[in-house]
Symmetry: C2
Subunit: 352 residues, 2 copies
């Protein structure tokens, strides 16, 4: 095959996904509740239950490096990012399939650790690996996991339900994973101990599966997504799917400790790290005006996970903006970590 003309990397992930949507026949199946384009596909099983389907492919060199992560951590992390997608729909994880592309020279011990990590990440959720496939690659590891889940009907939360007037909440803090990544890039595995928590948040994220289900069951949210690309990128997915705009307040962003130091040494602003660095695997959800803030807080109850209101959904024509502490409004770039390109992109709205 000739490898000339327009290439995939010139186009980027989301336009490539859009091409698939055009190639596939229009979904005519009434059981297909959510098609390509959300965190997971949703298939109606019966009147009360839906099946959730998600997958995530991770490539050595693009998504992880063994200089930074152990095979056990990688196993947990690869499973965690899938669990996070199921959690973002309000679902319960059930079954996993694991496909590996293994390079020559990959140690059997590392292979075992990888599966132990996956197992340990799944086990608290009562989920299990039930199949998979092994292949050889030339020189790097590929981990592709498909995770199934189940959700009650109604109650599945998608990216598409946000309405003008809804308030925007996020769990945990923003930018911790990105800051941890900066620490690892700067110092390698022997980073200063004070950054331990940030690095942990990067290497061993905690998917918010139980919280996702609580939010869905409580009926307090209109839309939900997990933060894999950075809040500015992920909220933009919600806006696109919901046909709305949004504004978020700079001074309300929940920041992790020591992010300021890391921002300084890495030459980026704290706000930039919080908005545009990905892989926090926290949840973002939108709450209609009729639901009081105390109700939202009560859902989080004894979870120990903070929840913060960071802004609100506006009409589509109201734009996509960041409001600073003085009330000045600037356009919010819907740019985040592009897992496909392996870079943080400065994609402009609609440029693709």
């Amino acid at each position: 095959m000739k490898r000339g003309r327009k290439c995939v990397e010139e186009i980027g992930e989301f336009p490539l996904i859009e091409r698939i949507r055009k190639i596939l026949p229009a979904a005519g199946d009434k059981d297909l509740l959510v098609d390509i384009g959300d965190d997971t596909a949703v298939i109606k099983l019966d009147d009360r239950r839906a099946m959730l389907l998600t997958c995530d492919i991770q490539v050595e060199g693009s998504h992880f490096r063994f200089e930074h992560i152990t095979p056990y951590q990688l196993g947990r992390r690869s499973m965690a990012v899938n669990l996070s997608d199921i959690g973002a729909m309000g679902g319960k994880p059930t079954w996993a399939l694991v496909s590996l592309g293994l390079p020559a020279g990959f140690p059997v011990k590392g292979y075992d650790r990888l599966f132990e990590g996956m197992r340990d990440e799944l086990q608290p959720h009562g989920a299990r690996i039930v199949g998979g496939n092994l292949a050889r690659t030339r020189d790097f590891l590929v981990v592709d996991i498909t995770l199934l889940g189940e959700a009650d009907l109604p109650g599945v939360l998608t990216r598409g339900g946000a309405r003008a007037g809804d308030r925007i909440f996020v769990t945990g803090t923003l930018g911790a994973s990105g800051a941890g990544f900066q620490v690892l890039s700067a110092f390698g595995k022997r980073f200063p101990a004070r950054y331990k928590e940030l690095v942990k948040r990067h290497l061993s994220p905690t998917p918010r599966v139980d919280l996702g289900r609580r939010i869905a069951h409580a009926g307090i949210a209109t839309a939900m997504i997990d933060l894999s690309d950075g809040v500015a990128g992920d909220l933009y997915h919600v806006c696109t799917r919901s046909g709305v705009g949004a504004e978020i307040h700079e001074d309300r962003l929940p920041l992790p400790e020591r992010i300021g130091e890391v921002a300084e040494t890495s030459g980026r602003s704290v706000i930039d790290l919080a908005l545009h660095s990905g892989e926090d695997y926290e949840l973002l959800f939108t709450v209609p005006p009729r639901v009081p803030a105390e109700t939202v807080q009560s859902v989080f109850g004894e979870s120990g996970v903070p929840v913060t209101e960071i802004g609100s959904i506006v009409e589509r024509g109201g734009g996509y903006s960041l409001v600073d502490a003085r009330g000045n409004r600037s356009p919010l770039k819907p740019a985040g970590w592009d897992h496909f390109r392996g870079t943080e992109t400065g994609r402009e709205v609609g440029r693709s």
Copy 2:
């Protein structure tokens, strides 16, 4: 991570799968009807229905080369090998997830063709792509497909049901794909026209999905598997899982036209190609003595696909053997195409 000590390629595919089985907790879930180790996992949905789950990862250079196959053909083929797994359980394909690792320079046109091929292969079965994930690789394409299916309960056929006395049947012919691969290796894309059918069988296999369901619904079979590793390797999987032995008759193997010529020029015997070259994606199934041969034939009815009795299942102690035209018996090597190693192996029973 240190890449010393024992490496995955020293161990091979099936022992690696065995390690996963040991790492995972014992399956306690009553809904998990078939766990790791068969073509697909089987999960009970309700009293009448089961869900089937399979996946297949294909790596450029190991599983396919663009010197031989077009992106459209690759799309069809990658989906076909998954359809074949669903067919082998007697199931109906439903939903697919596609993960791609795309190398830099991969043309957008080829990307489109790949998905068009997948779509066209799924469409006759009423199945559909509902999700997936895109990533970048350094220099080769990775295609990983997860395919779901549904089957009626009871009626799912696994590798584990064969009993001594059962007769062994296969659909279609054996060795056509392997012979087609030899033709492509020798001549490249400009092979002599007389080998067109063999090459087609290699590049564009037809998964026996409808036949698989007919066999399952007719209740004539005790075990079934699709032929991906070569009949000698795949029948061995059935024997291992069922705790039995088998013998097959050399002169009963259904051979494709022109395989003799190809065997001669490639320096291999016809029988070797028929037994040990993989990727025919035909079905092998075992039929208990009480079912007359005419009943088996009648299931195939107007399908136009030949079905051939090639041998029989024997007691475990009866060995695993090949019987030649004179009645001489020799050990049948359970060796076939090792998709993991990317070679045809001469693995001995129990050596691993």
